[in-house]
Symmetry: C2
Subunit: 605 residues, 2 copies
Amino acid sequence: MPSYKAPLRDMRFLMNEVFDYPKHYANLPGGEEATPDLVDAILEEAAKYCEQVLAPLNQPGDEEGCHFNNGEVTTPKGFKEAYEQYVAGGWQGLNYPAEFGGQGLPMSMGLFRSEMMGTANWSFTMYPGLSIGCINTIMLHGDEGQKATFLPPLVEGRWTGTMCLTEPQCGTDLGQVKTRAEPQPDGSYKLTGTKIFISAGEHDLAENIIHIVLARLPDAPAGTRGISLFIVPKFIANADGTTGDRNTVAAGSIEHKMGIRASATCVINFDEATGYLIGPPNKGLECMFTFMNTARIGTAIQGVAHAEQSYQGSLPYAKERRSMRALSGKKEPEQVADALIHHGDVRRMLLTQKAVAEGGRAMVYFAAQYADNMAVGITNGDKETYDYWDDKLGFLTPILKGCLTELGLEAANLGMQVFGGHGYIKEHGMEQIARDARISTLYEGTTGIQALDLLGRKVLLTTKGKAVRDFTADIAKFCRDHVGNKQMRPFIWELTKIATQWNYLTVRIMLQARKDREFVGTASYDFLMYSGYATLAFFWAKMAAVAFEKLEKGGNDEPAFYQAKIQTAEFYFERLLPRTKSHAETMLKPTKSLMQLNADHFNFE
Amino acid sequence: MPSYKAPLRDMRFLMNEVFDYPKHYANLPGGEEATPDLVDAILEEAAKYCEQVLAPLNQPGDEEGCHFNNGEVTTPKGFKEAYEQYVAGGWQGLNYPAEFGGQGLPMSMGLFRSEMMGTANWSFTMYPGLSIGCINTIMLHGDEGQKATFLPPLVEGRWTGTMCLTEPQCGTDLGQVKTRAEPQPDGSYKLTGTKIFISAGEHDLAENIIHIVLARLPDAPAGTRGISLFIVPKFIANADGTTGDRNTVAAGSIEHKMGIRASATCVINFDEATGYLIGPPNKGLECMFTFMNTARIGTAIQGVAHAEQSYQGSLPYAKERRSMRALSGKKEPEQVADALIHHGDVRRMLLTQKAVAEGGRAMVYFAAQYADNMAVGITNGDKETYDYWDDKLGFLTPILKGCLTELGLEAANLGMQVFGGHGYIKEHGMEQIARDARISTLYEGTTGIQALDLLGRKVLLTTKGKAVRDFTADIAKFCRDHVGNKQMRPFIWELTKIATQWNYLTVRIMLQARKDREFVGTASYDFLMYSGYATLAFFWAKMAAVAFEKLEKGGNDEPAFYQAKIQTAEFYFERLLPRTKSHAETMLKPTKSLMQLNADHFNFE
């Protein structure tokens, strides 16, 4: 089983050397408390919890899975105790306001904690992870009574939350939601319907579970404009913060899944369950989507997590396992054969995992600053600030979620591949990573949906290409700033070409899409992946620039760390970035080659 | 659970219209018996067995897995009866000589049968599949007594076989094999050692299991030059064809695997087990590799099988499941939403699976003619014929095995992706395809090993580039033959460019590799994938040419079939072939970006 060691050195590199988090936090209203010492202490404490408590439960949790018995869900052995430690450590409230019992730290701190937890044990992390969506929704859209009742126990972690969107007949297309909410004389509602794929929908970790539910009022218009949002607690909440009667909401079963087997995915039946409207009637989808960008970054982290986990699993194996001799001659003449790490193609697989994990982490840490700024807008009720940063974040979100989860899955498969046939055997733990990673391109909007969100919505509809222009303007500025640096020149040259081409492709698509609306759909996946590689290139160049600077200055005790960053950046630019070539060519192809085949002629018997 | 329908229409298209199998069989010494009527009847009978017997056992077999109890392995419910039907139907002997009880049909017939069986139920197909390697080895290298003793029951299917190569310390690097063989006064040997990953190593389907084992004689030189091949039966074979004493070879355990869970993967312990030398001493590896090309085509078929299976699973779902509206307007206005198949990105996923399944099948059917010709060389003891066709096959083998299994895995993942979140749920059966497919890039030589075999051995070492020159000469001839056809011109133009570039890349690599031996390793994976896409392009163009011709001629009752072929070819050329762009660029990059990072600097804590 791969053990987990939190990549604190890399996290500190990003926080302190690349993105200057100390300054970012200092400038953040309410962020002053996040002093470098405090941040460091928190990260180290979180690392310990993840390494020592969560990671050892990962493989046994997969083996055991969850148990369903008569409506009750039991999580795997050890999960309950680990969750108690999580609550006792105050981890759930890390980035929530003190008024609800939180520690009031910036939102990004929650993301860093989630990355470590998720890498150690993604299934476990789903339980507190789902609470985040629930807390955010109530914090932003709940009335004072709802906040006072639900937030303190949720922020404490004593209660957990869910997001109940999907129904058997619809996932992406939420306009098809059928769950009904009947108003009651006391102002509450009775909800009836079935939700599926509800992560953390039922379990034995918390005293109560608070469901956030999409449903229709009796007079609601059809489609997406007739959906409202409700709070439906498993146990009715008493005014004193204790739990009262059992509500008529219950798990009907749990799903048997390919991976994340220790995470309970439930069918949840609402049988005239008591619920409370949250936010304005029929505006449920808008309310729900408020924090969608942050939620999706939470899933993007899964790509980083599995790339890191897979890399940490396959690197030691590549150093220990000996097979054949290096092509350029014996590297370990005293051994029966050379270690795998001396073979070029094995290095390709290791470096791909490394480049995805570290490059993806950089993307997340960058976006996390946007998220912090956006959160300030919310806290201060400053809509303009919120909108500005949410838009900036909104452009990056589908790129992060769509591209990092695809690459995380690739990395997980490469980790298995390094092990050869042994990668297929459960005991080594590598195949679990690939199974766990597989969900990440499916939930929280499939890759196809991210692609449409990016190209159709964020780039074309909302900003008419400005989103790309703005982001590439930042890249262009970076290029100008570093073009004088001879060592950086190969990166700058490629990056400039990519930034230019990205805009060119956007314009070409915009023009084509006017003539042929299917063009957005047929180009979207390639545009998404292109954007992902382009964004990763930007951050690898940024990291290389910092590393060159550190080496130039000298005096640091870890030149090898910086050297490795530069060499990984070189690997990225030479061997992963060229994938943009194919995507650039394919996305501009006419829609015909995808759309012409008659739906009835896809197969013949 | 996806049901299985054998793609007989597509198989007949390839056999009768693209590759002219009737003529090929008619010209094949001993192939005269394979008349079109007989071939057709056999394929239909095989299809029935696969659809009705094997496919329904696929999902339950995965769920139940194999059972290990005190050295005995029990296969999942229904496997024993299905195997009895297989034996009763004479399926194992299809392409083996009548003198050993076979039906004497060409080798290719065995491959077509295996494709259908493997698509219906890959795990099941492993059991008779492993016998093939064993039968081939004994047929080619066994003495008359060994042939007489072992071949009839193996060809009948009453006994099955295995190939025991891998040991705990080595898989690829067989020079590290440690299993010892001590000569006995009676001319037999006592084998002692442990083999792992032995598919079909122990099970309850057959009366006896014949292990082909790599081991070392006491005086053997170190490394690959000191390995010999032995026959080690589970039960000692009596002269009358019955089984005698239990030999001291036994399964120590079975592996718990990600997929192909109904296939028993065993640790096999040899404890002074009685064995018989087969072939010359110390020439075991050479003997073993005689049929390696055919064995690897057998695994290449797994790529086709899972692409087909995944396509058959996801296509009906894409037609039934309704979500959102098509970008160019409602396609099914009377429905709540449009079916998935009307969305461009879903079509991309469907057509990728289709292009891999049908294009891959074409590659296999082409290579199968080489295999038939090679087999004639063996039957007639005509080494020149054998060498000629084995070389031609040898060039295609790593391309087929390496590239089709990678693409099969991609297709299987796309099949899941079409299902969205439902793809992750076991009951739909899509995630099983992805898990089953995952082994295919790992066993029978990983993708990395196929890549080195192709570039290092088949292209550079053995033929100094001639293998590529010869194959692209065939492509060039095809292009010349069709350049006059206006409809074919877009394909011909791209294909000509690819054929030229393929040679150019080969020469560039050859020159670079002289200066830097690591270049072969760092370029190999990209060269493999490039070669795969180039080869697929050739066969898609071939299929398109036939389809255009059929449409031109008219008079056939299925113009839509041919139209779909052409449109799928267009999809392939426009949207998959451009991947060669990235591979072409990456493979020529200097080795530095892969080789420079110090093995100790891959991570920092």
